[in-house]
């Protein structure tokens, strides 16, 4: 338990560090959020000062920082300029579409990745395996946005199998439940594939390599020398040990799937965290930028924590280090 606690405390410090950096980064950058107001010639210096004071911008930076930190800890992330509602509401609303894409992509990349990786290790050296291995490197190198565009071109415009954008059809509300599910699956398919392809290739290659490493261990040789069946060796002795490091990838890949992909959401017009990110940056919406950054970093930290904890459960030796 001490290990997990230590990691947890570490994560809290990390979050604090990120919050600090975000705050000072935003303050260091030129203050443009009120530039429109400043430009208005009818505003006197006095009024501008009062506007700044209403946002607490007249106080020393350190006081601002402490106030801000207090608000963050109590869960108040401020008020978004562009959406005119609390930042936390914007994030929660955007999180649902991100999850709708992220979960299928997560299942796709880990399912296929592990499957391909294990099969590759089993058939190592054969022509098909070598081709797959090279092909996976190609898939890993494809730029996500290009893959998305090519998939849209191919499956939406040419073959007309899947809709090119959005999460629902226009008449979504009039559909029956089964039609709704079907419609959503159609809309999710291309973005999920786009998001999941590169991680899938990485996971497959990683699984293959760890699997091969395990298969060359002496205890596998011992098992073989004992005369055990190849299948049993593979499934009972090699597989669990090889999948150990793969499981830690769950945590490390969490942000890719659940922190919102800017690119995929932009291409497929999905109103998720990634789109919120771009919008907040384009519109210079300070509270929203800070909120989204903290949220995304939070997911990264949670991901790291999960992978640490999973590893310590599956491989108790880690805890002693």
């Amino acid at each position: 338990m001490g290990f997990v606690l230590k990691r947890l405390i570490n994560s809290i410090f990390l979050s604090f560090g990120i919050a600090t950096i975000v705050f000072f980064l935003i303050r260091l950058l030129p203050d443009v959020s009120f530039s429109d107001i400043y430009l208005n010639p009818r505003l006197s210096e006095d009024v501008i000062q009062r506007i700044r004071a209403s946002y607490g911008l007249d106080k020393p930076v350190l006081i601002q920082f402490l106030n801000w930190l207090k608000e963050i800890i109590t869960g108040n992330f401020g008020f978004s300029f562009i959406y005119r509602k609390p930042v936390i509401d914007c994030i929660i609303e955007s999180f649902a579409p991100t999850l709708t894409i992220g979960i299928p992509a997560f299942i796709f990349s880990f399912g296929f990745g592990i499957l391909i990786g294990v099969q590759s290790a089993r058939n190592q050296g054969k022509l098909l395996e070598r081709t797959t291995h090279s092909l996976l490197l190609v898939l890993y190198s494809l730029p996500t946005f290009w893959l998305g565009i090519i998939l849209i071109l191919l499956f939406s415009y040419t073959l007309e199998l899947f809709p090119p954008s959005g999460l629902h059809s226009l008449n979504f509300n009039e559909m029956s439940l089964i039609e709704k599910i079907y419609d959503t699956i159609l809309h999710i398919f291309l973005p999920a594939i786009t998001l999941g392809t590169a991680p899938m290739a990485a996971i497959a290659r990683f699984t293959r390599n760890t699997m091969l490493k395990v298969l060359s261990q002496t205890y596998i040789k011992t098992a073989k020398a004992k005369g055990l069946d190849e299948k049993i060796i593979f499934h009972r002795h090699a597989l669990p040990n090889a999948l150990l490091p793969v499981v830690t990838l769950f945590g490390l890949y969490l942000p890719i799937f659940f922190a919102g992909s800017v690119v995929v959401e932009e291409i497929f017009s999905i109103p998720g965290i990634g789109k919120l990110t771009v919008d907040s940056i384009f519109q210079r919406d300070y509270p929203l930028i800070v909120g989204v950054t903290l949220f995304v970093s939070f997911i990264v930290i949670v991901g790291n924590l999960i992978s640490d904890i999973l590893y310590s459960i599956l491989d108790p030796r880690i805890r002693l280090k």
Partner: protein
């Protein structure tokens, strides 16, 4: 030896390309010779450049000669000209087609890759320098310095990378190659720092270090002369990986409109422009995309080859 040959080969091609890219572009990548008549031609299109005696030029898609007259076909018009006015006919090819402003996609793709490559290579080199410095300082001093630097590294690692790039670029409002290189190198040094630090700690305990210590060499000299060269070797492998990663990030930036601005072509902003007219000009996104993939693939492959024994 074979491994080094492979890596050398890729490096050689990239260098050649960076030097000679201007010479192999057949057309101006930014300005079209004839915007109206050459726009949106599919790949492998042929066109003719008719030069007249008075120096005027005409771009036509097809022509035939009949009774001392030249009948020509353009994209929207057709017409005829007396043959004795004509000085020269040149056939021109657009192997990748042309975009909706009549620019040759092949020239743009060739030209656009230079920025991606320069940004990728320089950023990864800077990132390497930063990473090695921080990792070496951390490993050499140890103790509190090490703790602080590693926490900083952790914070940088937990940051959403693309997000930070976007934020900094959007707020500083500078999109020069130089600023993009600086930002991207500031976001990619963490892995190298960790690697170098770990190597430093490992090498400190090695017997050959004990040997030079016993000769009486100062600890600073040991660190610089004996530990550092050995510590950076494993980190070298990550340079091509970072290069590939940076090229991808740069293309995403250009794609989102935060990178180098049109009309200067980069692979990313070419694809971004192509997305607007995907149905009518399907060939526009294909070639820059293939080249990004090929470049990143080459980088990944170099590091793959270097890792093999």
């Amino acid at each position: 030896m074979k491994k080094q040959k492979k890596i050398f080969f890729v490096g050689f091609i990239i260098t050649l390309y960076l030097i000679f890219a201007d010479l192999i572009t057949p057309f101006d990548p930014v300005i079209s010779p004839d915007r109206e008549n050459l726009s949106s031609l599919p790949p492998f299109s042929k066109a003719y450049e008719l030069t007249f005696n008075d120096g005027g030029k005409l771009f036509v898609l097809d022509y035939r000669i009949q009774d001392s007259l030249i009948y020509y076909e353009q994209k929207f018009l057709s017409g005829k000209v007396e043959i004795n006015k004509l000085r020269n006919v040149k056939t021109i090819f657009f192997i990748f087609g042309t975009d909706n402003l009549g620019r040759d996609v092949f020239s743009r793709t060739i030209y656009g890759g230079r920025f991606s490559l320069i940004i990728g290579i320089l950023s990864s080199l800077f990132a390497f320098l930063i990473g090695v410095s921080i990792g070496a300082i951390s490993g050499y001093f140890g103790g509190i310095v090490d703790k602080i630097l590693m926490r900083v590294t952790d914070v940088f690692l937990a940051f959403p990378k693309l997000f930070l790039v976007l934020a900094v670029i959007a707020f500083t409002q500078t999109q020069t190659i130089f600023s993009i290189i600086i930002i991207l190198s500031l976001l990619n040094w963490m892995g190298i720092a960790r690697l170098v630090r770990a190597e430093f700690l490992r090498l400190k305990e090695m017997e050959f270090i004990l040997a030079v210590e016993s000769i009486g060499l100062s600890s600073f000299k040991i660190a610089i002369k004996h530990i550092l060269p050995n510590a950076i070797t494993p980190a070298l492998i990550s340079i091509p990986l970072i290069t590939g990663d940076v090229i991808l990030t740069e293309s995403i930036l250009s794609f989102l409109g935060f990178g180098i601005q049109p009309p200067t072509p980069t692979w990313g902003n070419m694809i971004s422009e192509a997305e607007k007219s995907l149905i009518s000009t399907w060939w526009l996104p294909i070639f820059p995309g293939i080249l990004i993939s090929a470049t990143v693939l080459a980088m990944n492959w170099i590091s793959d080859v270097s890792q093999e024994d």
